[in-house]
Symmetry: C2
Subunit: 226 residues, 2 copies
């Protein structure tokens, strides 16, 4: 791989450049070069996964101050998952740096989602190990988080739309009503009820009326699945 | 809670002391003080979970340079889990700082494993948010990791002992043999076979003979479970 190209392009300069090379070294490459003392990128992937979890967690924590723990956890799982990590790899054209064995290369490994996602994680592990958490975080803030915003993943939590679409197929009608308001003015909580054909099938609470309705729709969806 | 006592004891001094208080604030306490604008510790717990994942990952990564990604992942899951986090809380006598509602207090909430584990995570989230990752990491290096070592969790991966115990009950005999050695001297890999009553039931690879035998035992255990 062209280590210099990578470092200049992203303005991340490694103390130990072999770590960067290792991040893109697939196990198929290592197996074909047993004479050299190489290590594949799997352990770095283990580390990079945790770097991503924390970086994404603190990003969501600050970005969505009213989101509940449960919503944050779901949101995070939808960012730190193979399809998203594969996409991040593609967004940054990282597959050019991959080191693959001949067999893997011939069978299309350079386009394989798992290989692309794993290399993205391993790269984050290498940046963390060589440069520390703050540099890893700022790499993501510069190159990845701007693409996550605004709302690239918000469909994940839009329960009202999901319920609406599912009920429409069955020819049913969905409506919402705020049935209670709790707490003092500066710390208001709303309780919403969700009705399908005028029958109440869900209830939810939230800091805003919209959040409460979302939670009511979520409960309605869960009841229908169970 | 006695914020000063905590800070002096652990030598961690918060810019925003209300974050530390929030880390120990159970939702039952917030529910009983609706007149104050309080937030419970659940969002901090979300963040702290990720702080722990990364801190433990980098600790294991450095501590066990020959452990595979799969082994590291299993090991991490056995450290960042409710029973361990509850224990960390008890080791540091953190339950004294908990803020609980009266009902929760009366029903023994101060001893409840989930509440103790969650508060430990939330505390790590608060330290990270206020003082950054390096301080959170050094808190764990000072107060927690020394208890993890040496081998407090290693039983988790001791497949040979597990297999031995399970076979003894059935009156069967377990043995191992190194059946192959691969790679150059400086990067040797061993292949071990595991036999029960002289019948081969598992094979494994490792950087050392012991590791290879462990992996062979692991395969044998998995075959027996499936």
């Amino acid at each position: 791989m062209d280590i210099k190209h990578f470092q200049d392009r992203f303005n991340v300069h490694f103390e130990n450049e072999s770590l960067l090379k290792q991040a893109f070294m697939h196990t198929s490459y290592v197996n074909e070069h047993r004479d050299q003392s190489l290590e594949d990128n799997e352990r770095l992937e283990f580390l990079g996964d945790a770097v991503l979890e924390l970086a994404v967690s603190q990003y969501l924590f600050r970005q969505y101050p009213h989101m509940s723990e449960g919503e944050l956890t779901k949101f995070r799982a939808n960012i730190v998952c193979e399809p998203s990590l594969e996409q991040f790899n593609r967004d940054l054209s990282l597959s050019q740096y991959l080191l693959l064995g001949k067999g893997e290369e011939a069978s299309g490994g350079r386009e394989r989602p798992a290989i692309l996602a794993d290399a993205f994680e391993a790269m984050m592990g290498a940046i963390y190990l060589d440069q520390g958490f703050e540099t890893a975080l700022s790499f993501l803030e510069t190159n990845i988080f701007p693409n996550v915003e605004p709302g690239a993943f918000s469909h994940v939590m839009d329960y009202k739309t999901k319920l609406q679409e599912s009920m429409q197929k069955e020819g049913k009608n969905v409506s919402y009503q705020i049935i209670d308001e709790l707490g003092p003015d500066h710390n208001r909580e709303f309780v919403a009820a969700c009705y399908v054909n005028d029958q109440k099938i869900g209830e939810g609470r939230g800091r805003s009326k919209k959040d409460a309705e979302q939670e009511a729709a979520n409960e309605a969806l869960q009841k229908r699945q169970s």
